[in-house]
């Protein structure tokens, strides 16, 4: 056995390999990295700069000495902690219910045989393409006049700690998000389930398992990667959603206002834009989605790989 050690030959090899095209390629890659990361880095730096430092220093340089401050972060936290909680109270149940119902629907539409399946599936397909803007007015009228669920549940919501009567509006909002999330998530689940070998379900049937047992014992565990994908997708979707919140909650000063309603007005005033506050608030608002991504990253990658 001989152990190879770096020699001058290796260096010569490396040096001669380094052609102009290769150098150009590296330069381009580096440029790409800078292009994508610079705004993020700038935002992060700005969030920790005092007003004076924001004006006087280059945006992407880190804050030095007096220029460093936690005031922006403090301000953002004071104004956003409530809305953040509202957003989570809305997004988490909405996501869980969407994923649960959509996976059941996909299972029923893919792995179980029954008459009229295609018609129901077509309805789901159509649901994917309904634009949010088209339903805003009917939606508002439905929840306010036809079926004022918010008003109905208001006393119960108010009796909970922290929550006020205003928060009752989150209940219809959750239902709306679930309803509008189900079609696309169902289609995603369905395409994943179609890749599963049918013999597994058949085998379970012969083993005497009922349709429900097959769902929670066989299908749910096998669809784990897809659950991660749709969980991330749907959570981000609902957390970032603006139109439904605006329509049903109404204004940013409501105690039930979500992050997306409050964020646009934060740091903006007649005297000008407070960049430090805006950046701190934006980063704060982004934290929940970042946590979700990191937590499910591995499953997410698996899910995407198998889906393609």
């Amino acid at each position: 056995m001989s152990v190879s050690t770096p020699t001058t030959d290796d260096f010569v090899d490396w040096y001669t390999d380094l052609t102009w095209t290769r150098a150009a390629l590296y330069a381009l890659v580096l440029l790409g990295v800078v292009f994508f990361l610079a705004p993020l880095e700038t935002g992060l730096m700005t969030a920790f700069k005092s007003d004076a430092a924001v004006i006087r220093t280059l945006p992407f340089l880190p804050p030095f000495g007096d220029g460093f401050t936690l005031d922006n972060a403090q301000f953002a936290w004071n104004h956003l902690s409530g809305p953040l909680l509202n957003s989570l109270v809305m997004s988490i149940p909405a996501t869980l219910f969407t994923v649960l119902f959509a996976s059941m629907a996909a299972y029923g539409l893919t792995m179980v045989d029954w008459r009229g399946q295609l018609a129901v599936l077509s309805l789901f397909m159509v649901g994917v393409f309904v634009p949010y803007q088209a339903v805003l007015v009917p939606l508002a009228r439905f929840w306010n006049n036809i079926f004022p669920l918010g008003k109905m549940v208001a006393p119960y919501v108010a009796s909970l700690p922290y929550f006020t009567e205003n928060h009752a509006v989150l209940v219809p909002l959750i239902i709306t998000h679930v309803a509008y999330g189900i079609p696309i998530i169902t289609v995603l689940f369905r395409s994943y389930m179609q890749t599963l070998p049918t013999s597994l379900v058949e085998s379970a049937m012969i083993d005497g398992a009922s349709v429900t047992k097959i769902y929670y014992r066989i299908i749910v565990p096998l669809c784990k990667p897809m659950f991660a994908v749709v969980f991330i997708y749907q959570f981000t979707q609902i957390y970032n959603e603006f139109l439904f919140s605006l329509t049903l909650i109404g204004n940013a000063s409501s105690s039930a206002a979500t992050v997306t309603l409050v964020l646009p007005s934060l740091g903006a005033s007649v005297s000008g834009m407070d960049f430090g506050v805006r950046m701190a608030a934006s980063l704060l608002a982004a934290i929940p989605t970042l946590i979700i991504y990191v937590a499910f990253a591995e499953q997410f990658a698996k899910g995407l790989a198998t889906e393609a």
Partner: protein, 384 residues
């Protein structure tokens, strides 16, 4: 407790008829093999018995109970799939226990015990806590088998369970499966496209083609007395020789080749004109005589050796007629014998080795006479 009665079973997929008017009776404890080329409807038949497909017509009865439209859950059958269909997220133990969970008359510890017993029987006890992904193909196969046995069903259904194993393991498993089935005494329907599996394992075999049942019977019955040309060609390796020709004046005639039939053959052939003469390769005798030195006797022909395939115990010899006939023959010769390619030989086709089929319908008109050593009974007439 495990009799299966299939009557007039038909299954259509759109315009395609997968199974056409199939009638089959399977006795309790019998090992029946459904065999045929791919697409012949054998798997569809099995899936109808399992309840995974709903028949388009006909009836399936288990012990006189009509189960035609019963869901698989209520049929008390166990099935081994070609891809094993082991649940990948469960351990072997959980896989085997899964089917038992629905059986009401077990306590949990009894289920555990039953799983361990069957694992012992199949020699997979040390695999119980592994996941299917960590097992080799042969081990997965045993687990799939164990999962079926554990439930103690009234019928086993097997859909090409050995086709994903290598040749050596397949031969071992073949024997083991047979022993298991004999010990357990459970009615088994086994689907395969492999005629060796069908011949070696079955009590009776059913040959299918194009959705139609061709013949049912004991393996040797089917081999020696095939009901038609399809069964004759399908069974046996190498394939049966067949020559297309006409019957003329008590002789079989094709270009450059005549073969005289004896009386018993002629009686069976009757007034059919266009026939197919079939001769199994092992019936083709290559004589030691030098063709130059002797004159040809009755049913003897001079032929040239085209290709010799040495198998060790025997040679598969491909022969051409020197008379320039377009047909050729395949023969099996002893493995110890020297046969050179290009050599001229005398070939004898014994008078009692001939099968004759109707050229149009493929129906067997006459089958060779066979007597087994130690017994004098003649094979039954072909049953269809």
């Amino acid at each position: 407790m495990g009799e299966i009665n299939i009557s007039n079973l038909t299954k259509r997929f759109g315009d395609v008829i997968a199974v056409n008017d199939l009638n089959l009776e399977i006795e309790d404890g019998e090992f029946l093999v459904l065999v045929g080329p791919s697409g012949c409807g054998k798997s569809t038949t099995l899936r109808c018995v399992a309840g995974l497909e709903t028949p388009s017509g006909g009836q399936i009865r288990f012990d006189e109970t009509d189960v035609t439209y019963r869901v698989p859950q209520n049929r008390d059958v166990a099935m081994v799939f070609q891809d094993y269909a082991l649940y990948p997220h469960m351990t072997v133990r959980q896989n085997m226990k899964f089917g038992l969970e629905e059986e009401p008359d077990y306590t949990d510890s009894e289920r555990e015990e039953r799983v361990e017993d069957v694992a012992d029987l199949l020699d997979i006890s040390d695999l119980l806590d592994r996941k299917p992904g960590e097992l080799s193909g042969g081990q997965q196969q045993r687990v799939a088998l164990g999962r079926a046995i554990v439930r103690d069903p009234s019928v086993f259904l097997m859909d090409e369970p050995l086709s994903n194993l290598d040749a050596k393991l397949r031969a071992t498993m073949r024997m083991e499966l047979q022993h298991l089935q004999e010990d357990l005494g459970v009615t088994t329907v086994y689907v395969t496209h492999d005629q060796t599996e069908a011949m070696t394992m079955s009590d009776r075999m059913a040959v299918m083609n194009d959705g139609e049942l061709q013949q049912v019977g004991e393996p040797l019955d089917l081999y020696h007395a095939p009901a038609n040309l399809f069964v004759a060609e399908f069974l046996g390796e190498p394939n049966m020789n067949h020559l297309n020709g006409t019957v003329d004046d008590g002789q079989f005639v094709t270009d450059g080749f005549t073969y005289s039939f004896d009386d018993s053959v002629l009686d069976d052939v009757g007034d059919a004109d266009d026939v197919v003469l079939g001769i199994r390769p092992e019936s083709v005798e290559i004589l030691d005589n030098d063709p130059e030195a002797v004159s040809l006797g009755d049913r003897e022909f001079e032929m040239t050796v085209d290709v010799v395939e040495p198998m060790g115990n025997e040679h598969v010899v491909h022969l051409d007629f020197v008379t320039g006939a377009s047909e050729s023959l395949t023969a099996i010769a002893d493995g110890m014998r020297r046969i050179e390619e290009g050599e001229s030989v005398v070939v004898h086709l014994p008078h009692d080795a001939a099968h004759v089929f109707d050229a149009k319908t493929g129906v067997a008109l006459h089958n060779r006479r066979v007597s087994f050593e130690g017994s004098s009974d003649q094979l039954d007439e072909p049953r269809v």
